[in-house]
């Protein structure tokens, strides 16, 4: 388990990263290394150049601007998870980050790296979809902003072009009266999810659902936004029957994989169970509960 030979470039600016990517189409970016390094050592990834971006100074930050929480791509999971700005404005993200691996992994892993890797069972891509986040990428022709819904295209596939690098995640601040919940089923604590559901529920003063966002991870080649479930909830009084119907709709939207840890049928069924639990919990939280 030793990596095959590669060239190592320590980048000091985003421009240099973009330039190096343009020069070598088999280059890979190294940030926290939590996904790339095992792939290198197993020789499953064999880039000719590894571009280490960890020394670029200005890519690690959490700030609030323009109704968004903006997180630099090199921000570690742990930094975002413990950020007061994140907790206060997008609590779903803070909660989701607690499920990413273990603390030692979160101390190294980066927000941008996890999003760019785009594992369909990972928490961050699904959370971005649930929160209608935007991803900022930079390439030879400048910057572009991609909606999370368009960003994750398939198993480990994103809308990033080969010569582009992700620089920032912009997450809209959640409305008042919004409750969030994450329900994740994994074989062990810290494992990739068999299925995970990320829910936000905005409840009006009349008790009806103003807005609902339900996303399922581990349920298909990319995070699944359960728009059918959301439609059933929006405008409705959130009764157990409505929640159950929405949960079933969320499960119906999934196309889960079959692997040694869980058959597809089991995962689909769990998507319903976890959706029901997540919607219920998020609703309770919106109503001031815990």
């Amino acid at each position: 388990m030793k990596a095959a030979t590669f060239e190592y470039v320590r980048a000091t600016s985003v421009d240099q990263v973009v330039r190096t990517l343009a020069e070598d189409e088999d280059a890979k970016i190294l940030a926290g290394g939590q996904s790339l390094v095992p792939l290198l050592n197993m020789r499953l990834a064999r880039p000719t150049t590894v571009i280490d971006i960890t020394r670029i100074d200005d890519l690690s930050y959490v700030r609030r601007a323009n109704g968004h929480v903006e997180i630099g791509a090199l921000t570690t999971h742990r930094l975002a998870e413990t950020s007061e700005l994140v907790r206060r404005n997008v609590p779903l993200l803070a909660e989701a980050l607690r499920y990413v691996g273990h603390v030692t992994i979160r101390n190294r892993g980066t927000i941008g790296g996890s999003i760019a890797h785009a594992d369909p069972a990972a928490e961050l891509p699904a959370t971005c979809v649930a929160l209608d986040a935007e991803l900022v990428v930079q390439g030879p022709h400048g910057q572009r902003v991609i909606a999370a819904a368009d960003f994750f295209q398939g198993y480990l596939m994103t809308a990033i072009e080969p010569e582009e690098v992700i620089t920032e995640v912009r997450v809209p601040v959640l409305a008042q009266g919004t409750g969030c919940a994450v329900e994740e089923l994994a074989r062990r604590s810290g494992d990739f999810a068999l299925v995970a559901v990320f829910a936000t529920m905005t409840i009006g003063t009349d008790g009806t659902c103003q807005d609902a966002r339900i996303t399922v991870a581990g349920a298909g080649p990319a995070p699944v936004r359960a728009t059918g479930a959301e439609a059933l909830l929006k405008g409705a009084a959130v009764t157990p029957d409505v929640i159950s119907a929405a949960a079933r709709a969320a499960a119906d939207a999934t196309d889960p994989p079959n692997d040694i840890h869980g058959p597809a049928e089991y995962r689909r069924e769990m998507a319903a169970v976890l959706s029901r639990r997540a919607i219920t919990k998020a609703t309770n939280r919106a109503n001031g509960g815990v």
Binding site: K2, P38, F192, G262
Partner: protein, 816 residues
């Protein structure tokens, strides 16, 4: 075959003590100890291990050393048509490449299979690397020695192997199918051999039975996964022809003998050194082809060669274990008396026989009656070859399956006749006055099983589990309590009897205790230090026996040139019992010499002397004394006028202990669990073991062994599975897919100890390295079934995964 097993039974009877008297037994933990034996002292090993400052085999770096890597088969079953290594040999930094055929030509014998308990078993000649044919994914095909590991791995990619793929025999069913492809073409089938262990009259027992309970159980493939993978550094000195091996092994003496056997050299030319072993759960007892490959690469290159198994390789190259299918039938009378037990153990062996052959699976059959006195048994084992990695040793060595079977059958019988399972256990336990008890194969030395069960149940009540379960159920949560009772074979074992059973090795232990010229004590042992605390345990025995402080004792391990010989190795729960027993005898004899010398100096009779904290004094006259340091000086340096004329210089004793019998520890495990009835997830809330391993040397070590063993039982029951696809490809080659429980999955443990001494072992010690692993699976299963009592779940296979449990709940409901 039948006669052979009967011979074994007859010979296993411990010699000359039919009506032995027992020492007074106690139920308290620190049994009557007033010294270091039984003291909860901190382990001598911990500081170096916990600070990461010890040395493991990969830390060995020798001048000019090369690093090797093994090319492994990507296919499960194929003929090797050709191997072209020319490009690899030309790769810069590569010093040597060897193929399977070259290795075969360089050795004198195939890889040893030391457990041969089936006389007519077909045992194929296996070589360190595949020759002609590969029979499992991951089997070594060629090896490279290069300037570093990365270069060696680069070179592996340049070796061109042409395979003619054959249909894979991926499962037990595939192997036993009528038209199954054969792994060994000249065999009649894929069956390597079978044998039956008989006792009494099974036919009559079943004909007369009120109740017959039948079931089939399946156990997934699992393995021990030490944090330190296997590894070796070999130096074959071209001038002295001396082979010097650094080896991460539990059995340095056995390894040295087997190296000699395979390489065709005398053992005086071989030195095996074992640094701290970073965990060895049986898999490092076994002897692997890589040891030979490294030696041959060193001989070829004239340099030291390091060969470390990496983590991915470990999932195919390390011994696999546990995988069995067992058909069982139990006969009983309506009052719950078990009158007969019939079983067939199908051993799902791999593509080649490992060091221990069918041994662990035979043990499953041999110990299937567990703690119960069952008059009539017929226990068979059938060894079946498949295109999977070879079967080998793993903590428990067949016993976790025996235990699962007898405990599940007891519960099934209890359900059938409407009796409490604990009452069925109590009714069938071997009673205390029946020891030594002749089980179908082994003699059980001592035990108070009913007391142990009682201790466990009382502890469960005191811990408030019953109330917790009631309350949870009232809240609609599925919480359950499960029990199991286990026996554990330890203190392995009487050499001649083991030979009679088919073991091509011995089971005695030799220990050397020396007091040096400064009065300090060194124990030289052939046991391996693998994190279990053997250095502390042996030091405690020596210190107490000699009357010196624990800190004055050093225990030297890990070098066949300087340490004495132990048969077998550090496995089979034998180090504390046979090692401790030998140290105790040697140290006691050495103390006699110390007292004779002191008696001369102090002008007192040795009987009137006492030794305390390294000072010998006349009882009642503490000012008349001499220190151990002075006695040491008198024995090695300035002896005139001090060392009696009748005494030879130096202070050393050597003891060889070959036990008359093995010793059986036992215990009762209780588990409190919660099941999420929607997801099938199982959470362990609490875990309790009541346990008896004779005289306890160090309760801290015993606790740690039980904790670690139980953690592996939890892994085996709920998480771990080496999965093969129908195509014979292994699908679990990382810790992302092979799930060992982490701290988050392990519940708190509560332990209760009792001490029924082993009369035939000096000190009364029994081993206890495996009990935690043996009893866990059944107890967890029973707790899950109890939590789901509304669902009628019957669990017959491990591990219990959430999807499988959910399916079992549905099947249970459908059956009702």
């Amino acid at each position: 075959m039948e006669r052979r097993d009967r011979t074994f039974v007859a010979l296993a009877r411990p010699r000359g003590r039919p009506g032995q008297t027992k020492r007074e037994d106690t139920l308290v933990e620190q049994n009557t100890h007033d010294g270091l034996i039984g003291a909860r002292v901190r382990r001598k090993e911990d500081l170096r291990l916990l600070t990461g400052r010890t040395q493991f085999v990969d830390d060995v770096a020798l001048s000019g050393m090369l690093e090797a890597a093994v090319l492994r088969s990507p296919v499960p079953h194929a003929r090797i048509l050709s191997i072209d290594a020319s490009e690899a040999l030309e790769h810069p930094g590569v010093y040597a490449v060897v193929t399977g055929a070259e290795v075969k030509a360089a050795v004198s014998a195939p890889q040893p299979v030391i457990w041969r308990m089936i006389p007519d078993q077909l045992i194929p000649d296996g070589y360190p690397l595949a020759v002609d044919k590969v029979r499992y994914v991951g089997q070594g095909v060629a090896a490279v020695a290069a300037k570093d590991r990365a270069t060696a791995e680069d070179a592996l990619e340049l070796i061109d192997v042409e395979y003619e793929e054959l249909p894979p025999v991926a499962t037990l069913e595939d192997a036993l199918a009528e038209d199954a492809p054969k792994l060994y073409e000249d065999w009649p089938s894929n069956v390597s051999g079978s044998t039956t262990i008989p006792k009494g009259d099974v036919a009559t027992a079943f004909a007369d039975a009120d109740v017959v309970v039948s079931e089939t159980f399946r156990f997934a493939r699992q393995m021990g996964t030490p944090l330190e993978t296997r590894g070796v550094v070999a130096t074959w000195d071209p001038y002295t022809d001396q082979l010097d091996m650094w080896l991460s092994t539990q059995s340095p003496n056995l390894a040295r003998d087997l190296l000699g056997e395979v390489l065709g050299i005398s053992v005086d030319k071989i030195r095996v050194r074992t640094p701290d072993v970073g965990g060895g759960f049986g898999n490092k007892f076994d002897f692997y082809g890589e040891e030979i490959v490294a030696a041959i690469l060193s001989r070829r290159t004239g340099r030291s060669v390091k060969l470390i198994e990496d983590r991915m390789e470990s999932f195919v190259a390390n011994a696999h274990s546990r995988e069995q299918k067992i058909d069982v039938e139990l006969a009983a009378t309506s009052d719950g008396t078990i009158t007969g037990l019939k079983a067939t153990v199908y051993a799902v062996l791999g593509g080649q026989l490992g060091t221990v052959g069918i041994g662990p699976c035979w043990t499953t059959a041999a110990l299937m009656t567990g703690p119960y006195d069952i008059a009539n048994v017929e226990l068979s084992v059938v060894g079946v070859m498949t295109n999977r990695s070879p079967y080998g040793s793993y903590r428990g060595w067949g016993q976790p399956k025996s235990n699962f079977v007898h405990e599940r059958m007891v519960e099934l019988l209890a359900q059938r006749i409407g009796m409490d399972a604990q009452d069925v256990r109590l009714k069938n336990f071997v009673p205390p006055d029946a020891f030594p008890y002749g089980s179908p194969v082994f003699f059980y030395d001592s035990g108070r099983y009913a007391d142990c069960l009682d201790l466990c149940r009382k502890s469960v009540e005191q811990a408030g589990w019953l109330e917790r379960r009631d309350k949870a159920r009232a809240d609609g949560t599925a919480v359950g309590i499960g029990y199991s009772f286990h026996v554990e074979i330890t203190a392995f074992g009487p050499s001649r009897i083991l030979n009679m059973a088919g073991l091509q090795h011995s089971g005695f232990d030799e220990e050397v205790v020396r007091i040096d010229s400064t009065g300090r004590v060194t124990v030289y042992t052939g046991q391996s230090a693998m994190g279990q605390g053997v250095q502390t345990a042996l030091a405690q025995v020596a210190a107490q026996s000699l009357g010196v402080a624990l800190d004055d004792v050093t225990v030297v391990v890990g070098d066949t040139d300087t340490c004495p010989y132990t048969g077998y190795g550090t496995g089979a729960s034998r180090a504390a019992a046979v090692g401790g027993g030998a140290v105790l005898t040697a140290a006691t004899r050495l103390k006699e010499k110390v007292l004779r010398i002191a008696g001369q100096v102090l002008e007192a009779s040795p009987e009137d002397l006492v030794v305390e904290d390294g000072r010998v004094s006349v009882a009642g006259a503490p000012d008349k004394s001499i220190s151990m340091a002075e006695i040491g000086d008198a024995s090695y340096r300035r002896m005139n006028g001090l060392l009696p004329e009748s005494e030879s210089p130096t202070l050393e004793e050597r003891e060889v202990f070959d036990p008359a019998n093995v010793a059986f520890s036992y215990g009762c495990t209780a588990v409190l669990t919660e099941v999420d009835t929607e997801t099938g997830e199982v959470r362990l809330l609490d875990y309790l073991i009541a346990h008896d391993c004779g005289t306890v040397i160090n309760p801290l070590i015993v606790d740690g062994q039980l904790h670690g063993g139980a953690a592996q039982a939890i892994g085996g029951a709920l998480y771990e599975e080496l999965v093969y696809g129908d195509d014979g490809q292994i699908q679990t080659t990382t810790f992302m897919d092979y799930l060992i429980p982490t701290a988050s999955e392990i519940p708190p443990f509560k332990l209760e100890h009792m001490a029924t001494v082993a009369d035939h072992i000096p000190g009364g010690f029994k081993g206890m390295g495996e009990g935690g692993t043996i009893g866990g699976g059944a107890a967890i299963t029973h707790a899950v079934e109890d939590a789901l009592s509304d669902y009628g779940v019957s669990i017959t296979s491990l591990p219990i995964t959430p999807p499988r449990l959910l399916a079992a709940m549905r099947a249970g409901k459908d059956n009702r």
